[in-house]
């Protein structure tokens, strides 16, 4: 009670300071806006200490792997690109791409601060900001990739495949043959028919966020060099992520204001006064600015979910103000003393408004229990935003209403407003329908529930960041072409590590990093006699052949439709085979440790790039190796399938890891998955599990809160039913339609819960208050269906129509959110207006205040 008096009372006494203070705080948060940064990296979905992320980062460091942009050049007629003229131009394109640089942005105070912070990071080798964005030495393209050959003199030579463009057509055609024959290049550098050439661009660490700009530079290079009939494509997660980040900004910039204008128009229609409508809108805008400003101040980047915060927060922020203004305007007689009228309306609505805000808060805060970082940020920001909106509705709104008092003095003249009138007619129809057919409604609900439960069983969980673009987007198109023609643009890694067979002894692991913590390797460098002669490692014929065996199995795995999943695999085994074949005319993987070591030494010492290709597949201490997989499809389902197939395969006794017998203890190979496609899988699983718990948790929390609010379990149950039904229906519907359950859909469940309960709270609360006065079910219901229900129906309309602009968005998650949110609100609104009166009617004998009375009615 005291909070109510303090907040509303103070605001009504001092309206001007309250409004001034609100604007001042808004200004403070507006200042933060230019510092906004986006981050759409799927790795950031998980917390940095997640084991999958730790393994992924460790793998990237140990094998020196980089994020890759994939560039494709295609002949649209399907003719070969391996001609003298075309290869010359492709060679030129590769050289131009190598030269791409973006000068670092001019130093300002903020950037120098940022640099200062970066400086302290343990990068002793890389303490300079480079203009260059691409690691030229690691580019995979016909012009740069190293090939081992014997030249005419019989000399061994390891040099770029196409150091210079060929001079004759036969040479050009031979190049394609060479690529197709070589297991390391095959399917990566060119399609089998030669109509598509792939260039893989590894990015310098920390330059991933510039992928979009790199894409623009590549476009310029392509425009200069490509002829009609030739087409280029860009693919790879870095491009998808940064493109998404940029388009996301546009969508946010376009659709949030459009939604705002639309909602303003609706409010104007409801209240017939632009000053009242803009009061609500200013409140909503302030809430959005405070919440977004707070998000930016907290240092969190804007992710796909957080970019939707304005669109979510705006309609939610309006809810309370619509209730207040509706109650003020729906009075039949003119208001003589606005101050008292506002106080009366607001103190009447105080409890329901506080509880609706709290339940919405619970719905959103429950999102923070999921392990998914962006969803956490999103949930907490909106949860706090909802409470801000409530606070502003309790302080700013009464102050504002008092200042513009002439416009609230007039009541709404019902006959004039056709739209308003028809809404009232519609909800009255609901009332009559609900009381006439209460039992039928309940039976229909049960049938609907069964139908939905079947649908929910059919839900497929699947996501893929590339699917966030519409299917006619140029990135989706290049994704299709490249994965059809080349081995695949989705990367995954399978890591092999030696592990003791019996887990009693832990393997001696030095976790110190030579670079970050300089250990002195240089004094006494020649005293090698004391070292153990042979530490066990992967240079063993049996182990490498096992890796090779796994590789050949991976290539055979098919999805349910019989399509190949893995387009290509590369491992150290391929290098050994290639060296053996070229230098010793023996493509078999050698068995002896010394032969393997000397093969690798031969490659390393003759290589153009210091043998750095080798160290991408086996670590320099030979303790770990990896298979690089290129997948044709980045869907989680596909990755899941691959993982389970491999699990199944290695469980068979004949496919178990060979054992390295040693006096110190036997060792075997342990296999772990990593790579971006796998990371996507991990966070998906985490999300589904997390959302399940979050949903159950918030459902129970809301039920508990209903018990407190109504001080009656039966009323709490009545409140939960329409909401539970509409959520079941929506998810059942998703299952029936076969739409994939992805991140936006998962998040919507908690939102729907937090919002839909509002209707039941307002309905039941007012019903019980009016019943105390009238003591008659029908009279009460009639009254409830006047002011409170017209406020509820206005809210339903504002939210469901407020989200419609999203139907036309360019990015799929926005469309999903728009469609499903409108649907959830509309369905749960209708369900509440129909089921609540029907349930109350049927349950009269059990409801505390109607128990005695009901005898008379029957």
């Amino acid at each position: 009670m005291s909070i109510k008096k303090i907040l509303i009372g103070y605001s009504l006494k001092h309206p001007k300071p309250i409004i001034g203070l609100s604007f001042l705080i808004t200004l403070l948060f507006l200042v933060a806006m230019p510092n906004i940064r986006t981050d759409t990296d799927p790795v950031k979905m998980l917390t940095p200490d997640n084991p999958a992320v730790v393994l992924y980062n460790q793998m990237k460091a140990e094998f020196r792997l980089s994020d890759m942009i994939v560039v494709g050049i295609q002949d649209l007629s399907g003719a070969s690109l391996f001609t003298v003229d075309r290869l010359r131009r492709i060679h030129k394109i590769t050289q131009d791409i190598q030269a791409i640089s973006i000068p670092p942005s001019p130093t300002t105070f903020w950037t120098s601060l940022f640099k200062f912070i970066q400086w302290s990071k343990p990068d002793i080798l890389l303490n300079k900001t480079f203009k260059k964005l691409i690691i030229n030495a690691d580019i995979l393209s016909p012009s740069t990739v190293d090939d081992i050959i014997l030249n005419q003199k019989g000399e061994l030579n390891i040099a770029p495949l196409m150091r210079k463009p060929p001079q004759t057509e036969t040479e050009a055609q031979n190049l394609l043959k060479k690529i197709n024959k070589n297991a390391i290049f095959n399917g990566k550098l060119a399609s089998v028919d030669g109509s598509l050439i792939g260039i893989f661009l590894p990015l310098v660490k920390g330059k991933k966020n510039l992928s979009y700009s790199i894409g623009l530079k590549i476009q310029k290079i392509m425009d200069q060099n490509l002829r009609p009939g030739e087409q280029y494509y860009l693919a790879g997660l870095p491009i998808a992520e940064t493109t998404f980040g940029i388009e996301m900004f546009f969508q946010m910039g376009i659709y949030a204001p459009i939604a705002g204008v639309l909602i303003f128009f609706l409010l104007f229609l409801f209240f017939g006064d632009w000053r009242l409508a803009s009061g609500s809108m200013i409140l909503a805008a302030m809430t959005v600015i405070w919440a977004m400003g707070g998000l930016i101040y907290s240092g969190n980047p804007v992710h796909i979910m957080s970019s939707m915060i304005p669109i979510f927060l705006m309609p939610i922020a309006l809810l309370d103000s619509i209730h207040i203004i509706s109650h003020l305007k729906d009075r039949n007689k003119p208001i003589k003393r606005p101050l008292i009228a506002i106080w009366q309306v607001m103190s009447g609505l105080f409890n329901p408004m506080l509880f609706t805000s709290l339940t919405t808060l619970v719905g959103f805060i429950s999102l923070s229990t999921t392990g998914i970082q962006p969803i956490k940020v999103f949930g907490i920001t909106i949860g706090l935003g909802v409470m801000l909106a409530w606070l502003l509705s309790m302080t700013f709104l009464p102050a504002y209403l008092l200042l513009i008092d002439p416009s609230i003095k007039k009541p709404l003249t019902i006959d004039k407003k056709d739209s308003y009138y028809s809404i009232n007619r519609l909800i009255n129809f609901f009332r009559i329908f609900a009381i006439r057919f209460p039992k039928q409604l309940v039976i229909a609900s049960i049938l609907l529930m069964i139908f939905s439960l079947f649908g929910i069983r059919m839900i497929t969980i699947n996501d893929n960041p590339v699917r966030w673009f519409k299917s006619d987007h140029k990135l989706r198109k290049s994704d299709r072409v490249m994965n059809n023609k080349l081995a695949g643009t989705y990367m995954a890694n399978l890591i092999f590590e030696l592990q003791p067979v019996s887990k009693k002894k832990s393997s001696p692991q030095q976790s110190q990093n030579a670079i970050t913590k300089p250990i002195d390797f240089e004094t006494n460098v020649f005293e090698t006699e004391n070292l153990p002669l042979l530490t066990p490692d992967l240079k063993d014929g049996g182990l490498i052949r096992y890796i090779d065996k796994i590789q050949s199995f991976l290539l055979t795995v098919q999805d349910e439709k019989g399509n190949k999943i893995v387009g290509a695999t590369t491992s150290i085994a391929d290098f050994l085979k290639k060296v053996g074949q070229t230098a010793f005319q023996n493509p078999e993987i050698p068995m002896s440790r010394k032969t393997i070591a000397q093969y690798l030494f031969l490659y390393e010492s003759g290589d153009h790039d210091k043998g750095r290709d080798l160290w991408k597949f086996i670590t320099m201490d030979y303790q770990k190796a990896q298979i690089w997989l290129q997948l044709k499809n980045g869907d989680n389902q596909i990755m899941n399938h691959l993982i389970s197939e491999l699990d199944h395969y290695i469980k068979k006794p004949e496919n178990r890891s060979p054992i390295l017998k040693l006096p110190t203890g036997d060792l075997k190979l342990a296999i772990k998955w990593s790579g971006l496609t796998h990371i996507n899988n991990v966070w998906q699983n985490e999300m589904v599990k997390g959302m399940g718990y979050a949903l159950i948790g918030s459902f129970l929390a809301v039920f508990f809160m209903m018990n407190i609010l109504f001080r009656s379990t039966i009323w709490a149950i009545i409140s939960m039913i329409p909401l539970a039904l509409s959520m079941l229906f929506i998810y059942g519907f998703i299952g029936w339609t076969g739409k994939y359950y992805d991140m936006p859909i998962a998040v919507l469940s908690c939102l729907a819960l937090g919002l839909s309960i509002d209707f039941a709270i307002h309905f039941n609360q007012t019903f019980r208050e009016f019943f105390k006065q009238t003591k008659s079910f029908h009279k009460t219901l009639e009254r409830v269906f006047k002011e409170p229900c017209s406020a509820i129906s206005r809210n339903i309309l504002v939210i469901s129509i407020g989200f419609t602009p999203l139907f036309f968005a360019e990015l799929v998650p926005y469309i999903t959110v728009g469609v499903f949110f409108s649907a959830i609100i509309l369905i749960s609104g209708i369900a509440s207006l129909l089921l609540l009166p029907a349930l109350i009617y049927l349950l009269q004998p059990w409801l505390p205040e109607m128990r005695e009375k009901s005898k008379f009615i029957r």
Partner: protein, 281 residues
């Protein structure tokens, strides 16, 4: 036969530039630096440890090899014999190089596990040496006539070595290749005025980015010849670094080294007295 191939052009230029001898002080300094670094004594027998540091790797990649060098002509042809003793897996691997000024090098590698001598292409003089940041040219020298040299300035150059601060009065010389090269657009060398050893060298690529930085960290006179005991090459773009260390106790100039050591036949079983070093002298 095919003297007019493209590959012959640089050698022509060298020939022509040598004929038209004009006094260029910068070129002179580089020539002296070449002689001091690569042609000290008539032969050299030592042991080298090579450590390649990779960002992200736990330990550097270490190799130890015996290094025997003999000048055929001062400032000209040289022969090298390398014999690997560490890591144990490549023990007894041997490598010979005949460095030519006007033609491709002659290179042969012996792998003991397969008991085979492999012919290695000797065309790529700017390519990495044994997987390190040094190129073959950085180790065996680059003829001064391949570049146009220019003195930029004289300056005091300081380097921290073994916790000491060393100061060198140097010539700073810019060298631009006469024929466009694949990687290097220019180099800048700091040459010590006393010993004429290059103490620092920066390599620029075609995007004028510093892609390799050489530093002589420790210089000591051995048998009267100033010798670089410890040097490093840093590749900032690739985040790798190579450190070269000479085994001072086992470094000898002007000993008796037979010519047949540099023949293919000695790869399989080199003379014991040349490859066995005294460990604890």
């Amino acid at each position: 036969m095919c003297i007019f191939t493209k590959r012959a052009i640089p050698y022509f230029i060298i020939l022509i530039s040598t004929l038209t001898t004009y006094a260029n002080p910068a070129s002179d300094i580089i020539k002296k630096a070449n002689l001091a670094k690569h042609y000290a004594g008539s032969n050299l027998k030592t042991r080298i440890a090579m450590l390649v540091y990779y960002e992200g790797a736990k330990k550097p990649n270490k190799k130890i090899f015996n290094y025997i060098k003999k000048d055929v002509k001062n400032g000209g042809k040289q022969k090298y014999f390398l014999y690997f003793t560490y890591p144990p897996d490549i023990y007894k691997t041997a490598f010979i190089v005949h460095k030519h000024i006007n033609t491709d090098d002659y290179r042969r590698l012996y792998l003991p596990a397969s008991q085979k001598i492999l012919m290695i292409n000797g065309e790529k003089k700017q390519c990495p040496f044994m997987g390190s940041d040094f190129s073959a040219e950085d180790i065996t020298g680059r003829h001064e006539q391949m570049d146009n040299h220019r003195i930029l300035k004289e300056e005091m150059y300081s380097v921290t070595s073994e916790k000491q601060r060393l100061h060198y009065q140097t010539y700073v010389i810019e060298s631009i290749p006469k024929i466009k090269e694949e990687n290097t657009s220019k180099t800048i060398t700091w040459v010590d005025q006393k010993t004429f050893l290059p103490v620092r060298k920066v390599f620029y690529d075609h995007f004028s980015e510093q892609y390799k930085i050489y530093k002589a960290i420790l210089i000591k006179p051995i048998n009267g010849y100033p010798t670089i005991i410890k040097s490093e090459m840093l590749s900032p773009l690739e985040e790798t670094k190579t450190v070269f260390l000479l085994d001072v106790k086992n470094t000898y100039y002007n000993t008796d080294i037979p010519d047949n050591l540099f023949e293919d036949s000695s790869l399989r079983s080199p003379p014991k007295e040349l490859i066995n070093f005294n460990q604890n002298e």
